[in-house]
């Protein structure tokens, strides 16, 4: 009788696959890391974009919105909002919230200074130029 499939064999397959696929993933990640700055135009991440991103993060925008499809599904996609609405609309929209329309989803009022809103718009502009493999399918996000 042949030796049969033992527990240590199963364990070795488990550990082997762990190491094997981790190496593959790390190799791919290395390549991705080189590609990302090209695809998202990292050279265009200005100080203003960085400040804008910090505001977007610390006000938990993705608690309602999505950015590249990640976040919450309570409010519209922000990846292409710059192209959908344009900078002037955004600059008017944010300080005008909440709309107060009965029953409609409300966006809070954030007390941003005009300079801060410019930063947010700069971030959204940068975001709209990231190569996301043609996603979202159309301008509505």
């Amino acid at each position: 009788m042949q030796e049969v499939f033992t527990k240590s064999m199963a364990r070795n397959i488990f550990l082997g696959s762990a190491v094997f696929f981790l190496i593959i993933y790390l190799a791919l990640t290395y390549d991705t890391w080189q590609q990302i700055p090209v695809r998202d135009h990292a050279d265009k991440i200005t100080a203003s974009v960085i400040r804008g991103k910090y505001l977007v993060d610390t006000n938990d925008c993705i608690g309602c919105h999505t950015i590249n499809g990640e976040g919450s599904y309570y409010a519209p996609e922000l990846d292409n909002v710059y192209k959908r609405r344009g900078p002037e609309f955004i600059k008017l929209w944010i300080p005008a919230q909440p709309s107060g329309v009965a029953g409609r989803r409300q966006m809070p009022h954030f007390n941003f200074t005009p300079a801060q809103i410019d930063d947010i718009v700069a971030y959204l502009q940068w975001l709209s130029n990231v190569d996301t493999n043609h996603w979202p399918p159309n301008i509505e996000g």
């Binding site: 199963a10 488990f14 696959s17 593959i24 993705i62 499809g69 909440p98 990231v130």
Partner: protein, 466 residues
């Protein structure tokens, strides 16, 4: 219960269920806000309600996993826990930190919370599931270190079973995978890419190992099937988790700015992610059919059998529907994803937590199984929660498909808010199913307040009489 120190699991389990209750309450509020956008607007805006809902989920699952570890590791190692006192201190630290964090969310505006907790020094806030301020994140690391120290020392001085090695190893993995939460690059694409190390690494990798270990432990105890067989299956299932899931992480990388090759690699490998869940079902039922004893705790057995099935539905089937790149092109970032998230988190991790709680709690309260009446309540709670969660998932799937059809495809796509209005009926469906889930939870929790233990003689008499 064989070792006195296993008792420290009890407060963990109780706190887990209390936090679970809180999670559902906030879930109902968030669901209501989809129907009435002004509901509680000034008191707790949707984003705050949502982060409380998701953070409570993570915390109660971690509580349950920790309780499970403190219960299982000594029993498997056949020795007392290294330091029950440390485990108890850790419990209170974790609970108080969680409570303070939630209070912070509810009372302090998020940007202000970021400002007063030093977020400017090490930015970490503002990512999904990782909304916690810096002190909480550091607290989580300390709690994890304390747990790891305690269980690893226990393991070292005791018997090293595969279940224990897998469980403790997976807990180490859980802690290590949390560390990227301190890395939040200014490049949004890199930030997304690395965020998935934590989220995918936990729920589609490491936690599946924990699930396997907990389920394996319960099945060994309840069916009396030989340990060698259970552990061998576990290794094979977990190998499949890694074979499919490690490169399968690519299914998060299609449309976030990562290179296009992830569309192929992610689709091919993640398409195999349902396989370990199918194996898990096959494994659980094989063990059930080969059982060598009838355990009186029918409720725990139901949870243990229900877990792989619901995990397959939520993580396997619903996950598969959105995993292939062409499908995800239309449903990425819609409520379809939320449907998958709800069914998978509940089916895999909430249910395995309730399975171990169902098995261990009677023991921790000094009996092998609860009275038949208590078990009836628990089983009723099981079915109401499971069916309600399927209802929630179906409703959210409907809402996601409305977005896919009206907003993402067609020559004349509608805007976001218009589409949300069209999906209203599904949001009602979700909220009603959510209320059903809440009812099920109350029924389930009621079972813990029914005293008495399983009466063998009475059951045998009744069985003979019929």
């Amino acid at each position: 219960m064989k070792y006195q120190s296993q008792l420290v699991a009890k407060p963990y389990f109780i706190a887990a269920l209390a936090l679970f209750f809180g999670q559902i309450v906030f879930g109902l509020i968030a669901g209501m806000q989809f129907l009435d956008g002004t509901f509680l607007f000034s008191a707790a805006h949707f984003n705050i309600v949502r982060m409380t809902h998701t953070n409570l989920l993570i915390v109660w699952l971690l509580m349950a996993f920790m309780g499970a570890a403190y219960y299982i590791v000594p029993e498997e190692a056949q020795t007392e826990l290294y330091s029950p006192k440390l485990a108890l201190i850790t419990f209170w630290v974790f609970l108080i930190a969680a409570a303070l964090t939630v209070v912070g969310y509810l009372l302090v505006p998020y940007a202000h919370l970021a400002a007063i907790t030093g977020n400017a020094i090490v930015p970490t806030m503002g990512r999904g599931y990782l909304e916690q301020p810096l002190p909480t994140k550091i607290g989580i690391v300390l709690v994890a270190l304390s747990l790891l120290f305690n269980v690893t020392m226990t393991l070292i001085k005791g018997r090293k079973t595969s279940i224990n090695l897998i469980l403790v190893g997976a807990l180490w993995g859980l802690a290590l995978l949390f560390l990227p939460s301190f890395y939040f690059p200014e490049d949004t694409v890199k930030a997304s890419y690395s965020w998935w190390w934590i989220v995918h690494g936990w729920v589609e990798g490491d936690w599946e190992l924990i699930l396997g270990a907990l389920l394996g432990f319960i099945l060994i105890k309840m069916t009396g099937v030989d340990r060698e067989i259970v552990e061998k299956w576990l290794y094979i299932i977990m190998a499949m988790v890694l074979i499919s899931g490690l490169v399968g992480i690519g299914h998060h990388y299609y449309y976030i700015g990562a290179p296009a090759y992830w569309i192929w690699l992610g689709s091919i490998f993640s398409a195999m992610e349902p396989i370990p869940f199918m194996l898990l079902i096959a494994f659980a039922f094989k063990m059930l059919f080969q059982r060598r004893r009838e355990h009186p705790n029918k409720a725990a057995m139901l949870w243990a059998m229900g877990t792989p099935i619901m995990a397959f539905l939520g993580a396997g089937l619903w996950g598969f529907m959105i995993t292939l790149a062409p499908a995800q092109y239309y449903i990425h970032g819609t409520n379809f994803t939320a449907a998958h998230g709800h069914l998978a988190f509940f089916g895999a991790y909430a249910m395995v937590s309730m399975a171990i709680i169902s098995y261990a709690m009677p023991m921790l309260r000094g009996r092998e199984a609860n009275s038949v009446r208590a078990q009836h309540w628990e089983i009723a709670g099981f079915w109401i929660m499971v069916l309600s969660m399927i209802g929630i998932a179906l409703a959210l799937t409907g809402a996601g498909l409305v977005t896919a059809y009206l907003q993402r495809s067609g020559a004349d796509p509608l805007g976001f808010m218009q589409v949300q209005d069209r999906a209203r009926v599904f949001f009602w469906g979700r909220e009603i199913a959510g209320a059903g889930f809440f009812t099920g939870l109350l029924v389930y929790l009621r079972s813990f307040f029914i005293q008495g233990e399983y009466q063998y003689t009475a059951q045998v008499k009744r069985a003979l009489a019929t």
